[in-house]
Every structure is written in structure tokens, then in C-alpha cells.
């Protein structure tokens, strides 16, 4: 599954009471893969964008996750080559949350893609 073409965007955002500041070395170090790029999103900009897109297509954007007005987090989504983010955040091939519950399905989907 080590496809050099894979690109991973990891977005850290404050959700819990203990998220006082940008991710430290411990958090960032959990994703050591060179194919990843990590971001800190203190204002939940991406979460808001995903929520906006999900209002018109909840299942496509969020997968198994259902919005109840909160922040989109502990969330993983897979986008095949060719998908572009135009007017709205794009529909995922696979999306789900919490990560621990969907990780097996996600791995299966990723294996098919790579």
C-alpha cells in the first residue's frame, strides 16, 4: 500500500477541552509519513466548509457520519484521482467517523485504489 502517489492531508483542530494549542510534537509525530501534510485549523474552517457541502449531500460528503450541528472531526475521507474541489467541498469515495470505527472499511477502500 506504499504508493508514492498518495497524498494525505491531516487537519488538526481544537475540539476537546484539552486542545488548548496547536498540535505538539507528540500529535504531529503520529503521522511521520512523508506523503502527508499537516495543518492546524483553530477556527474550524475546513469543518465548516465540509458542513456546508454536507447540507446538500450529507451521505456523499460525510459518509456514515451524521451531522448534529457540531464540528466535523475524528473524520476520514478518501478522494480518488480526478476529483476536484470546485464550488463546494467534493463528495468522497469513502468517508466516515469516528476513525476507529471506520478504519477497516477505509483500509479496504484505499487498498482498492492503490
Amino acid at each position: 500500500m506504499r504508493d508514492p502517489g498518495l497524498r494525505v492531508f491531516v487537519v488538526w483542530e481544537p475540539v476537546l477541552l484539552t486542545d488548548w494549542h496547536a498540535p505538539g510534537a507528540g500529535a504531529v509525530g503520529r503521522v511521520p509519513d512523508a506523503r502527508a501534510q499537516q495543518f492546524w485549523d483553530p477556527k474550524h474552517l475546513l469543518s465548516a466548509e465540509i458542513r456546508r457541502a454536507a447540507q446538500s449531500n450529507e451521505t456523499g460528503v460525510l459518509g456514515a457520519r451524521r451531522l448534529h450541528g457540531g464540528i466535523v472531526w475524528d473524520f476520514v475521507a478518501l478522494y480518488p484521482a480526478g476529483v476536484l474541489w470546485d464550488a463546494a467541498f467534493p463528495e468522497a469515495q469513502f468517508a466516515g467517523a469516528p476513525v476507529v470505527r471506520v478504519i477497516d472499511d477505509f483500509r479496504r477502500q484505499l487498498a482498492v485504489k492503490l
Binding site: 484539552t18 494549542h21 498540535p23 509525530g29 501534510q37 495543518f39 475521507a77 476536484l84
Partner: protein
């Protein structure tokens, strides 16, 4: 183990109202222990700062009472302060990205979108997580 020992000594010393040593050891113990309890780190550091402040108050009061300042106590106070400050700096300093990655950037939606679209020839994964 070290934190427990520090806690035990500190409580005994604080209760005895004789030595300001205990609170300093406790503060240092908590700051060090925070490395193992990442999710509790902010609270442990806050607690360490409080205990340290208590230690300073104790030291100040002891001085006002005419007790002689002991070099050992002063050294422990300064050492503990240094440890707590180091823990705070380590905790709040922006983390360097792992080798081979770009530095961790504050998310700007327009440039994130650009990066996402720039990699349109590849399979992409987007993950949203809480640091703790």
C-alpha cells in the same frame, strides 16, 4: 514513581509547614509526568504552576518569619521553576514536522483547496483530528 514520591514528600512537607521544599518537588514531578499523559498535559502544567506559586509563597512567608534562607531550598526552587518553564515551552512551542514533510501550517482555506486540487492526479486522504 518519581511523581508519587514527590507528591508524598511534598504533602508531608507542606503539612509540616517547615520546609518549602515539598511543593517544589511536587511541581517538578508533575511537569515531568506530563510527558506521559499527553491529554492531561495542560492541566498537569497548570497544576505544576499552582504548586510552584504555593512554594514561592511558602518561601516568602518563611523569610518574613525570620527563618534563614537555605541554599539547598533556593536551588530546588530555582531548579523546579526551570523544569516547569521548560515543560511549558516544550508544550506550547510549535512542533516541527516529521522528516520529509512540510512544516505544520495554520490552515488557510484557499491554499488548502489549492493543494487539494493540485494533487488531483493522485488518490487523496483528508483526516480531521483533535490533537489530544
Amino acid at each position: 514513581m518519581a511523581s508519587s514520591l514527590a507528591a508524598a514528600i511534598s504533602v508531608t512537607a507542606a503539612l509540616s509547614c517547615c520546609l518549602p521544599l515539598g511543593p517544589f518537588l511536587l511541581a517538578a514531578g508533575f511537569a515531568g509526568a506530563s510527558g506521559f499523559f499527553l491529554s492531561l498535559q495542560p492541566y498537569l502544567i497548570a497544576f505544576a504552576v499552582l504548586i510552584l506559586a504555593f512554594g514561592f509563597v511558602q518561601a516568602f512567608r518563611a523569610r518574613k518569619c525570620g527563618r534563614r534562607r537555605r541554599i539547598f531550598n533556593a536551588a530546588v526552587l530555582l531548579g523546579s521553576t526551570g523544569l516547569v518553564v521548560s515543560a511549558i515551552l516544550y508544550s506550547f512551542a510549535p512542533a516541527a514536522a516529521p522528516a520529509g514533510q512540510q512544516s505544520v501550517a495554520a490552515l488557510d482555506l484557499a491554499s488548502f483547496r489549492e493543494s487539494f486540487n493540485a494533487a488531483a492526479g493522485r488518490t487523496r486522504v483528508v483526516v480531521l483530528l483533535s490533537p489530544t
